[in-house]
Symmetry: C2
Subunit: 311 residues, 2 copies
């Protein structure tokens, strides 16, 4: 079922997304002791894989639903992705953002045509505000990760990667809300050749690691990590897929994230955000387990604030 | 003559270099008011186009010359390029560097197997030291830019670009010692369809602009520019080619360089060095002249010190 959904989704969103390139680096291969294939979603439209899921979710709305628009709560890439996807499809997008969201992110959402509604900087306020807008406008709420249409959309990055490199032994991806890793795990399951999916997660926001081991959705007390895309927690749609299809989750320190980010910037000469570097950091941390394997790494995005770099 | 030399050179160096990708961006097209094609030599081996000329120069040595090695003076990308090219071809490389060269550059040369010889930080000391080494070891001196084999090698970047996009109206490239722009101008002359070549140069090191207009090689009193690859001056090999085949040279301010660099980082999501941004800065500064044209831009390299960024 998911197999056909992934293929249909890929055909559906193709006209609205880039087929992103896969980069390789002999030097990074040497460092990791494995053969690496970087799927560069930082080159995706608006700079992150989230464009895939957002586009799929909007394309699956009915004509009537489309006229009323879409609403989400996000201060990160999904806010921009839903805005741009909606703009491309001539649908109205309401974006609920916490009042303390960085100005650069609000500007980006505005540039992509999203209508920003500010709320208090709490999870509760976000949810309440988004519900209120959905109620008042009739807009369809689209969750940034915990939505099967979004999950399937995010899985198309791994689908493309496996079409290019069918023999991958592993695919590494970062874990935040779980949309990317769940979609990646489904794609690997149906299109890989015994390809296992491994998540990378900061120690400072390790809810997925703890959920994976306890068997129930855990939360974070604090999320003091530079990987700002990975502060969110799993949901009832993402978690069961992760539990069933993800091979392992590896946690990394903040120093390891910055080092991996620096390696990618210096060696691949591409801009990636800290969340993206978490996947490579996880591989390097436990590289002995993956010696000489063929490993795909999903570079999730490249939206960084150049005024606020860790080096 | 140069036409065949360019083709022969390309075939000769092919096994040792990457065929670098060409990137496009709708947003940058909108900003420039033209259609842009970025030839990404930041993805070249060791991170810059200099790999092309260095490889060509070594491959054209006789067997006997190869056994004695090569020598150059450079504190920049050519030092690394000659080291790596020599290493790939099992030739010894002597690199004369000023004693005040950044440590990160010395480390890079060492990693590529180059033998560093320090000298006082003056042009005279560089030349004297390099001559002394050539005399003592029998190594062949290879100039970073003012050498026909190097110039032809650098021209293969534009050759590839024009093979991919034969209808370019212009190609923009930065001007330092002139090796890149001279090679680019030759390639455009023989492989372009009335394709004109425009140089970008910092106001703070505008010797090429002044030479272009005075008809004789001018020097710089100071070179207070962030574009550290462009502080060198033209030579007797590069200058006549530039005078004959380059369409124009446009000067840019330091602020314009940093803004263009930032645009490339944020929009193309790639790491480029300040010298590379000079070409785009030149186009943006005088964009009205190039409205709606198809324009190639040579991104010369991506070797930046992340500890020392302008933003």
């Amino acid at each position: 079922m998911y197999k056909q959904q992934l293929l249909d989704c890929h055909n559906r969103i193709k006209p609205y997304i880039h087929r992103t390139p896969v980069l390789k680096s002999r030097l990074l291969d040497d460092i990791a002791g494995a053969q690496l294939f970087f799927k560069c979603e930082n080159f995706q439209r608006m700079g992150a894989y989230k464009m895939r899921g957002a586009t799929n979710a909007i394309l699956l709305l009915s004509e009537k639903e489309r006229t009323k628009g879409v609403v989400t709560h996000s201060s990160g890439n999904f806010a921009q992705a839903l805005s741009l996807a909606a703009q491309s499809l001539e649908v109205k997008a309401y974006i609920v953002m916490p009042s303390n969201a960085p100005k650069v992110k609000k500007v980006a959402v505005g540039q992509y045509g999203g209508n920003i509604i500010e709320c208090a900087p709490t999870i509760e306020a976000r949810i309440t505000t988004a519900s209120k807008i959905a109620y008042e406008t009739g807009a369809t709420f689209i969750h940034p990760s915990n939505d099967m249409n979004v999950i399937i959309g995010q899985g198309t990055a791994a689908l493309e990667l496996l079409k290019d490199y069918p023999k991958l032994d592993y695919i590494f991806a970062p874990v935040g809300g779980g949309g990317l890793i769940a979609g990646t795990a489904l794609a690997a399951n149906y299109f890989g050749n015994n390809c296992k999916v491994v998540g990378g997660e900061p120690f400072e926001a390790d809810d997925a690691y703890r959920s994976f081991h306890s068997g129930k959705i855990e939360s974070n007390d604090t999320t003091n990590t530079i990987a700002d895309g990975l502060k969110t927690v799993l949901g009832d749609q993402t978690f069961p897929i992760i539990l069933e299809h993800v091979h392992d989750i590896i946690r990394v320190t903040e120093d390891e994230i910055v080092s991996a980010m620096r390696l990618i910037w210096e060696r691949l000469k591409i801009i990636v955000e800290p969340s993206s570097a978490v996947a490579l950091a996880a591989l390097i941390r436990e590289k002995d387990r993956f010696h000489k394997k063929q490993i795909g790494i999903i570079i999730s995005g490249g939206n960084v604030d150049l005024n606020n770099l860790p080096f």
